[in-house]
């Protein structure tokens, strides 16, 4: 009798969280459809889904018929961008959750710790060294990007092992590092191609423009694998949340676990950032919104943040394309608008005993 009551209570407890995740997924599907509507050729809302499903089922159209062009526009021109937005949003939010838990630091995310800027600088260095975006040299770009994103990761590891820094100091270091990387990035890009400051700007702000299918599989595969790994390790992440000493006393090999986590995150971040440039704050905004809604058990927070991050990036990207249509804003500017105030809020809220300082 008692056990049944307990089970009921637990089920209710879970149901609330699962509903949240499902709702977020529904928003993603909806936003994906809407995002496919923007640009030129007018296509109905429901038609978009039909076209996508038909395409997946392998329907062939005769060349140059209206159906052919509908299919071409949706699946070749608009869908890659949507897929990239979903993958990038999901992966960056997952990294955000993992970082916040790992460092027990509410402000940590790929952007504020400087890993995104490192990855971005790596990609720019590789391009400047002459790797192109298509063909086998994509691996070169990704590889450099991965290596450079390890620099901030290494500093985080060293700082947490050798000196005890407060979380705030760590974030400050990360922010400064991203300024530094951004400046070096500009230096390289400007020297390379004459006056390409706008290219430098797009890299540092992030934009989902100009993606094609053949590039996409690397971020998709790496991010999916990374997210799966994070979900798998969510129990350990929960333990890490209580701080290094507590986690050690619970029998977790903290230092090695942190190294593994940072490696996985560097891979995920590099695979995305080398295509989009730095997309800031997704990893900060999505997890905090999720935690406000469903608490902080990482088993649920990770999938929920994935869905919410994807939805957020899709919506902001669609907004960025609509605000000054037919031109588009870099999506990073809009993210910064949401992220700045939230950053401030987190700083002020987590002040005090047991806080970050």
């Amino acid at each position: 009798m008692k056990e049944d009551e307990f089970d009921d209570g637990y089920l209710r407890f879970i149901r609330h969280k699962v509903t949240f995740i499902l709702a977020a997924v529904a928003v993603v599907v909806l936003a994906a459809g809407v995002s496919c509507l923007v640009d030129g050729r007018p296509i109905g809302v429901l038609d978009v889904y039909r076209i996508i499903i038909d395409h997946i089922l392998g329907t062939e159209y005769e060349f140059a018929t209206p159906e052919y062009w509908d299919d071409f526009v949706v699946c070749q021109m608009r869908l890659p961008r949507v897929v990239l937005a979903i993958v990038a949003g999901a992966a960056l939010s997952t990294c955000g959750v993992a970082m916040q838990s790992m460092m027990s630091n509410p402000l940590a995310d790929p952007y504020t710790t400087g890993m995104s800027s490192g990855a971005c600088l790596g990609a720019v260095i590789a391009i400047a060294m002459g790797f192109a975006f298509t063909g086998p040299s994509v691996y070169g770009i990704m590889g450099m990007s991965f290596l450079m994103s390890l620099v901030p990761a290494l500093i985080i590891i060293l700082l947490s092992r050798i000196v005890r820094t407060s979380p705030a100091t760590l974030i400050l270091l990360g922010t400064i590092m991203s300024y530094l990387f951004g400046a070096v990035n500009t230096l390289i890009l400007v020297n390379q191609e004459g006056e390409t400051l706008s290219a430098a700007y797009l890299w540092t702000v992030g934009s989902l423009d100009n993606v094609i299918w053949s590039d996409l599989w690397i971020p998709v595969v790496l991010s999916t694998a990374g997210c799966a790994a994070m979900i798998f390790m969510s129990g350990k992440l929960n333990v890490m949340m209580m701080g290094d000493d507590q986690a050690r006393s619970m029998g977790l090999d903290v230092d090695n676990f942190r190294t593994v986590l940072l490696l996985v995150m560097s891979l995920m971040i590099a695979s995305i950032i080398s295509f989009t440039g730095i997309l800031g704050f997704i990893g900060l905004v999505a997890p905090h919104m999720v935690r406000m809604a469903i608490g902080s058990d990482n088993k649920f927070v990770i999938p929920a943040s994935m869905a919410l991050g994807a939805a957020l990036l899709l919506v902001t990207d669609t907004l960025a394309r609509l605000v000054i249509y037919p031109y588009e804003l870099p999506v990073g500017v809009i993210l910064m608008f949401i992220g700045g105030p939230l950053f401030l809020y987190v700083v002020v809220k987590h002040n005090g005993y047991g806080g970050m300082y």
Partner: protein, 336 residues
């Protein structure tokens, strides 16, 4: 005596670099030519050829603007570090610069004036001044309500800065979406080609505010030793803090309106100057200002020699590592 000598030496160094600066860049001009051109302008008969244009209208204006901006930022940094009792404070990290730059962009891009009836440079500077007050107010209010650590103040400043720089990017991109490079160099800080007619708007507030801060130097010194102590010697810390913050904002507004947000000059200069002249504000402020002028002038020359680079890139590359060292070094020690 040693301090006065150091300040004098700095002034001489700035003057020397100012004369050499017009020689540096893609179009070659020798030092003698520069002297010739300067002399002919002093006599009132400019030659009007290409070299004259490059030296007098492009490079010299840019260099003088760099000197004024660097001086202002250096003085502001020194005053802010003392007033906020935070070794990492400067107009950039506290978000003051980004507020000012948003105000300036409102005026330049939208032609919108917060105080009605102004136009031209006055409108730009007034807008910049009013918006630059917001970050300082936020940080001072928060630190009055809650106990804030040094790093936390900085993080608040960074949060405000993200928001403001996003807002100014948005304004500029809404006006002209093809102008991304302009947005970027504004956010990074760019002196580029100066204009003679802008110089007075920059230089006069800078001079006036520096004078005001120098007059208040002894009170700011007292503030460094803590609020309670300053009460006991009869200085109202709140009043000094507000007044000097206002003065700093005016100065930052005057500079940022024409250069965009240049980072780290205000942070680094006081620390360099402090190593030579100690931390008495009446010496530290002018010394820090001159160090700032020297640094920004050198950075501006470097940016011009590399070609079409915003000067903020150089100051960031130099300033970040120094910030790192300061952050690690001051982590525990009590800063006075």
């Amino acid at each position: 005596m040693r301090r006065a000598a150091f300040i004098l030496a700095l002034a001489v160094a700035v003057a020397a670099l100012l004369v050499v600066s017009p020689c540096l860049g893609a179009y070659p001009v020798s030092v003698e030519e520069v002297f010739g051109i300067l002399w002919s302008h002093l006599l009132g008969s400019p030659p009007g050829d290409r070299a004259d244009f490059v030296v007098w209208d492009v490079r010299l204006t840019s260099s003088i603007m760099a000197v004024v901006a660097g001086f202002a930022l250096g003085v502001c940094g020194s005053a802010m570090q003392a007033v906020m009792r935070n070794p990492l404070a400067d107009p950039y990290t506290m978000g003051v610069s980004s507020g000012a730059s948003l105000g300036a962009i409102m005026a330049i891009v939208l032609g919108f004036s917060i105080i009605p009836g102004l136009s031209g440079n006055a409108m730009t500077v007034c807008n910049a001044f009013l918006l630059s007050l917001i970050p300082m107010t936020v940080i001072l209010a928060l630190s009055a309500l809650k106990r804030m650590t040094d790093t936390m103040m900085l993080l608040c400043g960074i949060g405000v800065m993200y928001f403001f720089s996003a807002a100014s990017s948005l304004l500029m991109l809404l006006a002209d979406p093809t102008q991304m490079s302009a947005v970027y160099s504004w956010n990074l800080g760019n002196i580029g080609t100066g204009y003679w007619e802008n110089l007075p708007t920059m230089a006069i507030p800078t001079a006036a505010c520096t004078a005001a801060l120098l007059l208040a130097a002894s009170r700011i010194d007292i503030l460094t030793s803590g609020d309670q102590l300053s009460h006991t010697v009869g200085v109202d810390p709140f009043k000094v803090r507000i007044l000097s913050s206002l003065t700093v904002s005016v100065m930052v507004a005057a500079v940022v309106s024409f250069t965009g947000t240049i980072g780290f000059i205000g942070l680094v200069s006081p620390h360099i100057a402090r190593a030579f002249v100690g931390s008495r504000q009446s010496f530290l402020m002018p010394a820090s200002g001159l160090v700032g002028a020297l640094l920004l002038l050198a950075a501006n020359d470097a940016a011009r020699m590399i070609g079409s680079l915003p000067v903020g890139v150089i100051t960031t590359i130099v300033g970040c590592p120094l910030f790192f060292i300061l952050l690690i070094r001051y982590r525990r020690s009590q800063w006075v």
